[in-house]
Amino acid sequence: MRVSKRSSLVCFLIFLAGCATSSYQLIRSGERGTELIVSPDRVLLECEPLLDADEKGLSGFMMHVLDEENTVLTLVQGNTLDTDSCHRRMKKMSEILRTGKTIFIGGTGDLGEPRRKGRAHVFPRKGTFYGNGRVLGFAVITNEFGACFDAYSGDEKPCPREPFI
């Protein structure tokens, strides 16, 4: 009984810690783009194979972020990528998410439009949530240790670049 109570307490504390570390903060959203600070559990990376595109071997890169209302906004790389490049960037960004607790994300465009229900996304540590139809252009992702990846220049310095500095 005593052990059981203690393990329940530990589980509760882990649950609380989990809650405390899962965060979404909108820094700004407007004409100069959108900036978010989120915990890594709220970020999902995707290289969607474009099998029905005119050219073969292409993938579309997207980053899905679980927002404050538990709906999912999407940052998209506007140009299609060759599948190898897409997977290579996924690996680098996964490392940023794995090593960081505070993730900064910069995107072009704003979050002004009303939410509308979209496709379901499964966040491994959070559950299944629906897209909200909001789209930003992916610009940059970085963590508190300075690991950084830019949409068009990868981890090449300077990163991040204007206006996301």
């Binding site: 100069r32 783009g33 474009l50 579309g60 506007g78 465009g109 610009a139 830019d150 068009y152 206006p163």
Partner: protein
């Protein structure tokens, strides 16, 4: 067509198709591109909207190139309706974020993300874009927006035709952009997201 009788043409008859591309102004190489840009009459050109895409560092830096080459090809192809330079600007925003040499792709190059395959087609005198071709442009030249932007716009005009063939009607500007990206018939989530991004950039350019 009939030409003066000469040693080279003893019959006085020649094939227009072969000669068209040799007439100055019917093909573009690096020096011709430069010459057209420098000498272009700027008085009546329609410029893309300025000062609206503040989240891109160099968003307005290429406005003159976009305006001149859009006008140039609108006239060359007698386009009706003419291509809107804001479509080109929003396309470039979505393709490269106005970076002249985005490195994160091995299949497409430069500010307009031209593929080697496209570069080959727009330089092929017998290819699908043979009615107006470029010449002597190398892949590394695509890092220069003075080269990449006219090729991108020329390719948009070609995509207008291929989209029309698929849709059996003229494409709207969103369908044109999807065709440029090779996604017109795609059913992927990425297509919707990429279109959403383009749509937003275009709307910002058009906002009063």
């Amino acid at each position: 067509m009939r030409v003066p009788v000469s040693k080279k043409n003893p019959t006085g008859i020649t094939i227009r198709d072969r000669h068209l591309r040799r007439i100055k102004g019917t093909y573009l190489d690096g020096s011709e591109i430069d010459s057209v840009f420098r000498q272009y009459d700027r008085t009546t050109i329609v410029r893309p909207t300025h000062g609206k895409l503040e989240d891109y560092r160099n968003a307005d830096q290429f406005d003159e190139l976009i305006a001149i080459w859009t006008d140039y090809f609108n006239r060359k192809f007698n386009a009706n309706p003419p291509l809107d330079p804001d479509v080109v600007k929003a396309l470039i925003a979505s393709e490269s974020g106005f970076r002249v040499d985005p490195r994160e792709n091995r299949k497409a190059f430069g500010i307009a993300q031209i593929t080697p395959e496209t570069l080959k087609i727009v330089q092929d005198p017998a290819g699908e874009a043979k009615d107006f071709i470029f010449t002597k442009i190398r892949q590394k030249d695509l890092k220069d927006p003075h080269i990449a932007i006219p090729i991108g716009i020329r390719w948009l005009f070609r995509k207008r035709i291929t989209a029309m063939n698929q849709l059996k009607r003229p494409p709207d500007h969103e369908e044109l952009i999807l065709e440029y990206k090779g996604l017109l018939k795609s059913k992927t989530l990425y297509k919707e997201a990429a279109l959403g991004k383009y749509r937003k950039e275009y709307a910002r350019l058009k906002k009063k």
